[in-house]
């Protein structure tokens, strides 16, 4: 049985109320989902959104039909949770909002570059460059045409590269 088939079987069991089957799905997908949310929403709320997404996935388990990967289906639920959370959020000063997706350790400087991208650019870049998603999967998740997604990823990557090279140059000068 393939990965999709296994996840579909677990999801069907979850739809019948089998919480142990759902726990296996959580165990299997939490690492990727939380990494995505950490990069797009920030460390302080990533886990809250992940929990909300898993609760919605549990309640909608019967709707997963196995056509897409379970990770794609789950991430699209989490992405909608993130957008809802942004809509509910009171407006915050730009400096405060941009300081939320930081990182510690050796990856901090590249993470800082991500902070300067907008939500959708960041999500597209994380999924396509970091999580190995196809462009069409990411385009479907973000609700945009494939061509637009491809240019967005290229543009986001280019922005990061330029900022990174600029900072390296500043350090040398």
């Amino acid at each position: 049985m393939g990965d999709n088939g296994e996840d579909l079987a677990l999801s069907r069991r979850a739809a019948r109320g089998d919480s142990a089957a759902f726990a296996m799905l959580v165990e299997k997908h939490e690492r990727q989902l939380r990494a995505f949310l950490l990069r797009t929403a920030g460390a302080d709320i990533a886990d809250d959104i992940a929990q909300e997404a898993f609760l919605k996935a549990w309640r909608a388990a019967g709707q997963y039909d196995g056509r897409a990967r379970y990770a794609t289906w789950l991430t699209s639920i989490a992405w909608r949770c993130r957008l809802d959370q942004l809509r509910r959020q009171r407006p915050v000063p730009v400096e405060e909002a941009e300081a939320s997706v930081g990182d510690s350790g050796e990856s901090a400087e590249v993470a800082d570059l991500l902070d300067r991208l907008d939500q959708r650019e960041r999500a597209a870049l994380v999924l396509c460059e970091g999580h190995g998603w196809s462009h069409s999967e990411a385009a479907q998740l973000l609700g945009m045409p494939l061509g637009t997604l491809k240019s967005m990823v290229a543009r986001a990557k280019q922005k990061c590269r330029q900022m990174w090279l600029g900072e390296k140059h500043d350090e040398l000068v």
Partner: protein, 118 residues
């Protein structure tokens, strides 16, 4: 330079290589269990309220039908106002005694306690 940047970007954006976080899995499953319990109680409360509304509507309809009966109308016309008032007060008293018991039966109080605990 470009490759170095691409490699670093991919490394930073990739999910961390680690074992599943058992604590997180437990938190999610506990959260789901609690949400399901609250949802079940909320549904029970709504069902119970709907039942009570139906009961009140049927009592009101019965009173209206009885009130149209000539015998009852004659009784109301011939009875002293004090007797009618006493009957109404007795009915209200019985209602006041019964309603809290009905509300406890719906689980409404424990549902509110559960929310307070969370």
């Amino acid at each position: 330079m470009t490759n170095s940047f691409d490699d670093r970007l991919a490394a930073v954006l990739a999910p961390p290589d680690r074992e599943p976080d058992r604590d997180f899995v437990l938190r999610v499953t506990a959260g789901i269990a609690l949400a399901d319990r609250l949802e079940a109680r909320r549904s029970a409360l709504i069902r119970s309220l709907a039942g009570q509304l139906a009961a009140i509507a049927s009592v009101a309809a019965s009173i209206m039908i009885l009130g149209r009966s000539p015998a009852v109308a004659r009784f109301a016309a011939e009875s002293p106002p004090g007797t009618l008032a006493a009957l109404l007060v007795s009915f209200s008293f019985v209602a006041v005694l019964l309603v809290p018991g009905i509300m406890r039966g719906t689980g409404g109080r424990s549902w509110r306690l559960e929310i307070a605990r969370t």
